[in-house]
């Protein structure tokens, strides 16, 4: 989107600056003007312009070359085009030596400026994408990277592939470590936006004000420390996908801001007065039950429905135990390659330990466990001894349970008795045996707590 690139035209003759600015605005660029080198440097300190058109001869002690050098100190990546009515070989050489990207003589052909600007913007788009991709992707994420033979996971992969090329918002729910970001990246890389940026933001990691600035960017002076204008993650994801992890943790104010972006695809930078329009697909993820959060009044229902257009629920690892051997072998192969260790498999005893564990940290915990075992392993197989630390942390059925918060002992007792009675089919003798109390005590408690049988 052209308007995302800002241009500054610097010329001491106002009519010159304004007419070029107006011509560039007709081409869809956001253009500012400055009537002196000093004003240009001041504006450059506040905003990150992509291109500067700078007149060579300007009065006031700061000519085009000096202006260019000062701008470059602020923005080394800026493209600067020197304009002059007085073309000499010497000035052209000086300008290029000092870092001007181009040198044009006015009046120039409209086609020349048009081609020049579009060529620079094309390169800038590529540089921006390249930088984001290099930072974020050390490897490609595809559906092939999701290791699973579970029927539920296969259904999820089919749905993800079907929605990959849509623009609709996706809400991925699942416990920590189930691979929500992996699914989000696979959706992005399999759709029409694959060549564009994928920008991930962890909403739980930052305080409200920081997250707001992180998402929407800020203008210079928007808050203490905002020394210059900065693009937010939404702008960085232009044309691509933004992945909002732990969306359930955002504040009510940010919920309102996000709702507006989802509805209108527009927002303001923090401290800004100009609307920024973006074409970004939103994939959100959370480990909390958002529907419950809505019922509890902690999450806006209108935002929930905007996010929940396509819902993907990733089951925890303990509910797809058939994937444990497959995933463990996958991690083993990868880590043995990375560590340069010749470990070929997992023994039967080792697998039993893994299958018996409850994996509250899901796939990520399994990956860490395999890596830890690989580091200490001395043989060619990972055995139960190598996974001793896993066995110590608890077995299936014992892990991953915590008493609900804000509950009295009596409330807890009532729930336990009701659940035990349900399991024994209302058999008092059996229930009393399980609970470790005699039948008369159980009768008394059933009556006191008014538990239906």
């Amino acid at each position: 989107m052209k308007a995302n690139w800002q241009i500054l035209v610097v010329d001491d003759e106002e009519v010159m600056a304004e007419s070029l600015a107006a011509w560039l605005r007709e081409d869809g660029y956001a253009v500012d003007t400055a009537n002196s080198g000093r004003e240009a440097v001041e504006k450059a300190a506040q905003r990150d312009y992509a291109i500067y058109f700078v007149d060579l001869k300007m009065p006031g002690g700061m000519d085009g070359i000096e202006t260019m050098m000062q701008v470059r100190r602020l923005h080394a990546e800026a493209s600067i085009i020197i304009i002059t009515a007085y073309a000499t070989v010497d000035t052209a050489i000086t300008a290029m030596k000092e870092g001007a990207q181009e040198y044009i003589v006015k009046p120039c052909n409209p086609e020349e400026i048009s081609l020049l600007v579009s060529r620079i913007i094309k390169v800038k788009n590529l540089q921006r994408e390249n930088s984001i991709l290099r930072k974020k992707l050390s490897r490609q994420y595809r559906f092939g990277d999701v290791i699973s033979k579970s029927a539920r996971m296969q259904d999820i992969l089919t749905l993800s592939q079907e929605v990959a090329s849509l623009r609709s918002t996706v809400l991925i729910q699942g416990e920590s470590g189930t691979g929500k970001e992996l699914i989000a990246r696979a959706i992005h890389n399999s759709g029409d936006r694959a060549g564009k940026p994928f920008v991930a933001v962890s909403c739980a990691a930052l305080a409200e004000t920081l997250l707001e600035s992180e998402l929407f960017g800020h203008e210079k002076g928007a808050f203490t420390g905002a020394n210059q204008q900065r693009r937010g993650k939404f702008e960085m994801a232009e044309g691509g996908t933004i992945f909002l992890d732990e969306i359930g943790d955002i504040s009510p104010k940010l919920q309102v801001d996000l709702l507006r972006v989802l509805q209108e695809r527009r927002f303001y930078r923090v401290g800004g007065t100009e609307e920024v329009t973006v074409d970004v697909r939103v994939i959100a993820a959370t480990h909390v039950n958002l529907q419950q959060a809505v019922a509890d009044g902690k999450f806006r229902d209108d935002l929930f429905y905007r996010l929940n257009v396509i819902a993907i629920d990733i089951p925890p690892l303990r509910e797809r135990r058939e994937d444990i051997p497959l995933l463990a072998q996958h991690f083993l192969e990868r880590i043995s390659h990375e560590l340069g260790k010749d470990v070929s498999g997992i023994s039967e005893g080792g697998l039993k330990v893994l299958l018996d564990h409850n994996w509250p940290g899901n796939v990520r915990e399994l990956e860490n466990a395999v890596e830890r075992a690989m580091v200490t392993c001395r043989g060619q197989e990972l055995t139960e001894d190598d996974f001793a630390f896993v066995a110590q942390t608890g077995k299936a059925g014992q892990e991953g349970w915590a008493p609900p918060a804000n509950m009295t002992i009596e409330e807890m007792e009532k729930l336990l008795i009701a659940a035990t009675l349900q399991r024994t089919g209302g058999n008092i003798k059996e229930a009393a045996g399980v609970l470790g109390i005699d039948r008369s005590t159980l009768y008394e408690k059933i009556k006191r707590y008014e538990i239906p049988r």
Binding site: K2, M16, S19, L20, A22, E26, K106, P107, C108
Partner: protein
């Protein structure tokens, strides 16, 4: 009631003006009124042998009738802005006044044989283009759309005298009057 005003300087080809007026009414969904404009000798730049489009726009803004929501001027004079060698037209983006120059739309300007049909077609396309800017439209990526950027007559000839669907929708959304 607000009108789309079409103004012509004294030397303008009347047939071209009529063709533009007929099409403008249909295209902009507003009644069109014609207005006589004075000559633009005041904007002549002897050094360049051309006429500055900025003083012409300033004149049009001053002359804009009270019941006009847009005024598009048409002139035979060759226009320029200081930084460029020429412009086919110039309009206030989202503003009230714009101007189209017919000078470079004629085949004769390029030493070719006159072609009336080609000239009228180009005049219509450029009038639509500058009017689009008046309605706030910027250049369109679709090379066949009237709003695509043309820096030469070849590009004007390759576009249609109509807006693409996207630009047409944007035009529809702009308030009239």
């Amino acid at each position: 009631m607000k009108y789309f005003y079409l103004g012509a300087t004294p030397e303008v080809d009347r047939e071209a003006l009529t063709a533009i007026a007929e099409r403008a009414g249909a295209e902009f969904g507003a009644p069109v009124r014609e207005i006589e404009l004075p000559g633009i000798d005041f904007a002549y730049d002897a050094a360049r042998g051309q006429y500055g489009s900025i003083p012409v726009l300033e004149m049009l803004v001053r002359m804009c009738p009270g019941d006009a929501f847009k005024l598009l001027g048409v002139t035979e004079r060759d226009l320029f802005i200081p930084v460029l060698t020429f412009v086919f037209g110039h309009a206030q983006l989202g503003g009230r006044a714009g101007v189209v120059s017919l000078a470079r739309l004629r085949q004769e300007f390029y030493g070719l044989e006159a072609n009336r049909e080609v000239f009228l077609e180009r005049a219509l396309k450029e009038a639509l283009h500058e009017s689009g800017h008046l309605f706030g439209l910027v250049h369109c990526h679709d090379a066949s759309c009237a709003m695509s950027l043309a820096t030469g007559v070849r590009q004007i000839d390759s576009k249609r005298a109509a807006f693409c669907a996207r630009c047409a929708v944007r035009m529809e959304r702009k308030p009239r009057g």
